[in-house]
């Protein structure tokens, strides 16, 4: 490359990486470095407890023929940390951090660029449908199969602490909530089935 070409290359490179920052593009390998950037002050901190035994057992699923079984990370053949996120987050409709980072304080410029209204989210995913898609497709069940999964059930414990108590080193004052997610297959999703997520 000649020196002139190198100069042009550097300028183009800097334009691209800065554009990613200005327009909040977080598509690998471009980024605006949003990791851990979202903080919304609150009085409490809530955290779901990772129940290892429940995780090993898997998600409780009901098949179309009425039988019940469990789907674990081994059945899906995915790493444990990723399964943990399906089990404790996606089934409860909680999106990955990337979505919150992309939705928070987007600003008028980035809303305009993306054609979003004031109350429209940048990222919005129907996790319920996706859970059925992922589980059934992986286990090779079709909507008409008797083994097709029509219900997914999972429960988890959330511990809610008051920040003021924790700051005093007191972790004993805790409100424990048991949350349950029951996802039911909707027949209107059959139309989506052949298109999948694309």
């Amino acid at each position: 490359m000649s020196r002139r070409t190198v100069n042009i290359t550097i300028v183009l490179y800097l334009i691209v990486v800065w554009a990613a920052v200005i327009f909040r593009i977080d598509y690998f390998p471009l980024t605006w470095v949003p990791m851990y950037s979202v903080y919304e002050p609150s009085e409490t901190i809530s955290k779901s407890i990772k129940d290892k035994a429940a995780m090993r057992k898997g998600l409780r699923v009901t098949h179309r023929d009425g039988s019940i079984s469990y789907v674990s990370y081994k059945d899906l053949n995915i790493p444990k940390p990723n399964y943990r996120r399906l089990h404790f987050s996606r089934t409860f409709g909680t999106a990955p951090p990337k979505h919150k980072q992309g939705n928070t304080e987007l600003g008028s410029l980035n809303r305009f660029v993306r054609g979003l209204n004031e109350d429209e989210s940048n990222f919005s995913v129907d996790w319920e449908w996706r859970m059925f898609w992922t589980l059934n497709k992986t286990l090779q069940f079709k909507p008409a199969d008797p083994k097709f999964i029509v219900r997914i059930e999972v429960s988890k414990q959330r511990r809610i602490y008051r920040k003021a108590d924790l700051a005093k080193g007191d972790a004993s004052k805790v409100e424990i909530q048991t949350q349950q997610a029951v996802l039911d297959w909707q027949d209107q999703w059959v139309k989506r089935w052949n298109h999948g997520l694309l």
């Binding site: 690998f28 390998p29 980024t31 950037s37 080193g169 694309l198």
Partner: protein
């Protein structure tokens, strides 16, 4: 006119001076060695899967999988990709078909990272800096020095100072901006409250310490140190200001000529990554290997070759 001349002089001084072809070649070798560990650490979870097990349908495919229509994971391919990735990285280190090797590494990372991040939709950012470095290596003449490619060619091409300097300086600029941008992101999304003693740092410390549960006595099961620290907002405030200062001032590192000062700064940043890993489970622990770009590796390589290597060899032969 005078401004243009001055800007041009600063630009040329920054991007086109400071490193030799040898520095560039050595940087390729040492970054490559670091990558061998980095790849394994990053993709270890994928390698725990059953290669002939179920083909998982991704819940949220990464953007380029969506574009290419890749909907599911074929585990055997990931094992193959990992083997190719390691082979290509070794090939990059020795400088055999250097440019092709770097291109293969980039493609393998895209695939394996895509797989890992599509399982549950959590996109990790650990490969962003290494990927920028690889991209700049790809455009550079890093395979012309300290390489088999150069040895096989009887008249190896000489790498000029400007040709060796610009990729390294662009890498340095990117890394410095990466940290600087993270301050912009925090302020844009959360405001200055992020850095407060009772802000985001305290929140992450508490979340990381209570997530594995609490004993009947009200003590956290794991990460007791994080929990202890979370109770001292005034101390966290100091850390918050330190984070702000070092991220905001990172670009100043590019102006520091003294190697000792640079080293001190880099040691500080490395300590920061170790601390955030231990206390907050922020997994950027291996990233400091990329900071090699801030140093001229020629004297370090010389020292390793003439002092450290004979010392280890002698000890090894005594032990043997």
């Amino acid at each position: 006119m005078a401004f243009c001349k001055s800007a041009s002089r600063i630009w040329n001084q920054f991007f086109f001076t400071g490193f030799s072809g040898e520095s560039l070649g050595l940087l390729r070798m040492y970054i490559g060695i670091g990558l061998l560990f980095f790849h394994t650490y990053q993709f270890a979870t994928v390698l725990t899967l059953n290669p002939i097990g179920a083909m998982y349908y991704f819940i949220e495919p990464i953007w380029y999988f969506n574009l290419l229509g890749i909907q599911y994971h074929i585990p055997a391919i990931s094992f193959g990709m990992y083997a190719i990735l390691m082979g290509a990285t070794v090939s990059m280190i020795v400088g055999k078909n250097t440019r092709t090797s770097i291109l293969v590494i980039i493609l393998c990372i895209f695939y394996l990272k895509g797989v890992r991040d599509s399982f549950s939709g959590d996109v990790h950012h650990r490969y962003i800096i290494p990927m920028q470095i690889l991209f700049l290596f790809l455009l550079s003449k890093c395979g012309e020095v300290h390489s088999r490619d150069a040895r096989e060619r009887h008249h190896p091409e000489e790498v000029q100072e400007w040709e060796a300097s610009w990729p390294i300086k662009t890498m340095q600029l990117y890394v410095a901006l990466f940290y600087f941008w993270s301050v912009i992101a925090k302020v844009r999304v959360s405001g200055w409250v992020w850095f407060a003693g009772e802000g985001r740092i305290q929140e992450v410390l508490i979340q990381r310490s209570v997530r594995w549960g609490v004993t009947d006595q009200g003590e956290v099961v794991k990460n007791a140190l994080s929990f202890e620290l979370a109770q001292h907002p005034e101390l966290i405030q100091v850390f918050g200001i330190l984070v702000l200062t070092f991220e905001l001032c990172f670009p100043l590192l590019l102006l520091i000529k003294s190697v000792r000062l640079r080293l001190a700064f880099i040691m500080g940043v490395t300590m920061f990554h170790i601390a955030t890993f231990v206390l907050m489970d922020v997994n950027f622990i291996l990233i400091p290997f990329v900071y090699l770009i801030f140093f001229d590796l020629v004297p370090i390589h010389q020292w390793l070759k003439t002092r450290a290597w004979p010392f280890f060899r002698r000890r090894f032969s005594i032990a043997g």
